[in-house]
């Protein structure tokens, strides 16, 4: 059942707590991008995707499917999946441990429910999502395929190959998203690659483009409805989410430095205090 905006905010706060506690427990992982995409993934899994954890199968028949192309964002992905009921929340404590189903980057080899495809080597997930979307059209399966990419990731040429394929094959059941936080490991995207205006680029590629605030749930839900309304129009949709790396914690926000770094114990304590506790409870 769809959640209210207040309920979504509560889940998102808990997810951010999970992200920080997971990476601190594992002493590794990628909190920055996870925190910039927390709100959009929370809204996606709780309010937008047609999905049922109880009947989940990898072939995704009769349900929406999701590919995390920017595979390093596993902290947010696993937290959202667990909070949505795909596996026990307590399992988040095993993140990046030997033998865990919660591998550093998504793996289909450990049998973790909710994971459709391996990712981590960047630039590949949008192609897999396009394949899912093309197959759904071939099968007359009327559900959506969602995909989340990073803006840094979009420096990979394969993203643009997939972009061309999706337009050529009229994949209007494909809704791709970019976590447009403007940061990547080595610094601001504009100082690393000069990627430029993603909206203009995707429009030139022939996609429907929606630009929205990725931290405002009203804007997020509105953008999702707009995206879904594109079905039948013969074009894939790209939502460019304007987000902030490390969003929600003052010393982590807006800098690339937390892409793949882990807070120290006293920083974790400070961050959790800033986020506040929720009734959902920590893992």
């Amino acid at each position: 059942m769809a959640k209210t905006i207040q309920e979504l905010q509560t889940v998102a706060t808990q997810v951010r707590r999970d992200i920080l506690r997971m990476v601190c427990k594992a002493s590794s992982g990628h909190p920055g991008g996870s925190m910039s995409s927390t709100d959009i993934l929370t809204a996606l899994y709780f309010n937008e995707m047609k999905q049922d954890p109880a009947t989940w199968t990898r072939d995704g028949k009769g349900q929406d499917m999701f590919i995390l192309s920017a595979g390093h964002m596993t902290p947010v992905y696993y937290s959202v999946l667990a909070r949505a009921g795909y596996f026990p929340v307590s399992e988040l404590a095993t993140f990046r441990q030997m033998g865990s189903r919660l591998q550093g980057h998504p793996s289909i080899r450990k049998g973790l429910p909710g994971i459709f495809q391996a990712s981590g080597s960047l630039g590949q997930g949008l192609s897999a999502a396009a394949g899912l979307a093309a197959a759904k059209i071939l099968d007359g399966d009327d559900n959506f395929v969602w995909c989340l990419c990073g803006d840094g990731e979009s420096e990979e040429g394969q993203i643009w190959e997939a972009g061309m394929f999706a337009v050529f094959h009229k994949l209007d059941n494909l809704i791709a998203m970019t976590d447009w936080n403007g940061k990547q490991i080595d610094g601001p995207v504009e100082e690393v690659s000069g990627e430029g205006d993603l909206a203009a680029k995707w429009e030139a590629w022939g996609w429907r483009v929606i630009v929205a605030d990725g931290h405002d749930f009203e804007a997020i839900l509105k953008a999702y409805e707009l995206a879904k309304a594109g079905k039948g129009g013969g074009k894939p949709t790209m939502i460019l989410w304007q987000t902030e790396m490390g969003h929600g914690v003052d010393f982590m926000a807006g800098t690339h430095k937390w892409h793949g770094s882990v807070p120290k114990p006293e920083q974790l304590e400070d961050a959790l205090k800033q986020l506040g506790e929720t009734p959902l409870g920590d893992f």
């Binding site: 990898r58 072939d59 995704g60 028949k61 590919i67 793996s107 289909i108 080899r109 459709f116 495809q117 391996a118 990712s119 981590g120 080597s121 630039g123 590949q124 997930g125 949008l126 192609s127 897999a128 999502a129 396009a130 394949g131 899912l132 979307a133 093309a134 197959a135 759904k136 071939l138 099968d139 399966d141 040429g157 394969q158 190959e161 997939a162 061309m164 394929f165 050529f168 094959h169």
Partner: protein
């Protein structure tokens, strides 16, 4: 010694095209994708018969691999086709993550493999693809030797659940295997029994090995000829049994030394039955422009070179 007859030269890629059409007729889950090489891969008849199951990807092989993986996740059986270099070396990381690690039921149709691609020269002639594909955990690697066997190998690949690398070639070559012989993945075929030396060959070199065996027989040397149509998983028992019988082995392949069938066989024999081994392969070189047959001779991959290697192996017993 059984004498094999060429029923008329045909290219193995046409065997793939015929097999793909049959697989598509037998199973609606079969789909085909190409990166602007539909004609070269002989996918025309499949595309004409099943236009909705044929996907033109343009010259974008990396994306094609990912799209195929996505389709496989939903239950399709995708065959992706391009030249061997462009569906291996160019997209190694995509195959590793999306197909091998992702364990998707994708069939990599790899045409124009080896030096017999010919006139286009070294940029297009991969002699390293078997090494790359063998290295991937769980990847099945098939390298059939003629048209008939390629038809059957394509059907076997479609029926097998899991990633398959299916390698074949461009030129017309002798067609001599039984068209009704079903392809069993992982099984070596003893084409001729012999007692003095074992000639292990794969792909285009199988016919050359048969010719070498005839030449050796004329000199009173009895050669066993084994067709390794499945390079991975390798039929270890067949190789060890034959080496135990003959005591000398030649491995012939249209591929370089590093990571090829020769090293695979040597590894098996070193562990289980140390035996003198001689190699017929591209060594550590790039190819060049030329006709397929001229290149096979110039790079030492034809029957006379296999026969010479057999004499050398016997001399080391």
């Amino acid at each position: 010694m059984k004498k094999y007859i060429d029923s008329g030269k045909k290219d193995t890629r046409s065997g793939f095209g015929a097999g793909l059409l049959k697989a598509g007729e037998a199973n609606p889950r079969v789909v085909a994708l190409t990166a602007d090489l539909k004609g070269s891969l002989k996918m025309d008849s499949f595309a004409a018969a099943f236009p909705e199951r044929f996907f033109q990807c343009g010259i974008a092989e990396a994306n094609m691999v990912g799209v195929a993986a996505g389709m496989a996740i939903t239950g399709k059986i995708p065959f992706i086709g391009s030249f061997a270099e462009f569906v291996t070396g160019r997209v190694y990381d995509q195959i590793r993550q999306e197909v091998s690690y992702g364990n998707t039921n994708v069939k990599i149709a790899s045409s124009h493999a080896g030096i017999t691609l010919g006139e286009d020269g070294a940029t297009h002639q991969t002699m390293e693809d078997l090494a790359l594909m063998r290295a991937l955990p769980g990847m099945v690697v098939l390298n059939p030797c003629d048209y008939n066997q390629t038809v059957q190998a394509t059907l076997a690949a479609a029926a097998y659940e899991g990633p398959v690398y299916l390698r074949f070639g461009r030129p017309s070559v002798p067609n001599f295997t039984d068209p009704e012989e079903p392809f069993v993945i992982g099984k070596a075929l003893v084409l001729n029994e012999g007692k003095d030396v074992t000639l292990i060959a794969t792909g285009h070199t199988v016919w050359e090995a048969l010719q070498a065996a005839e030449a050796l027989e004329a000199d009173g040397i009895s050669a066993e000829v084994i067709d390794i149509a499945t390079i991975k998983p390798l039929d270890v028992d067949a190789i060890v049994a034959s080496a135990a019988k003959t005591g000398a082995v030649v491995v012939a392949e249209e591929h370089n030394m590093a990571g090829g069938l020769g090293e695979a066989v040597a590894g098996v024999l070193a562990a289980k039955r140390p035996t003198p081994v001689e190699y017929v392969n591209g060594e550590d070189r790039f190819g060049q422009s030329g006709t397929p047959s001229a290149l096979m001779a110039a790079y030492g991959l034809d029957a006379p070179h296999i026969a010479a290697a057999a004499r050398k192996a016997i001399g080391r017993k």
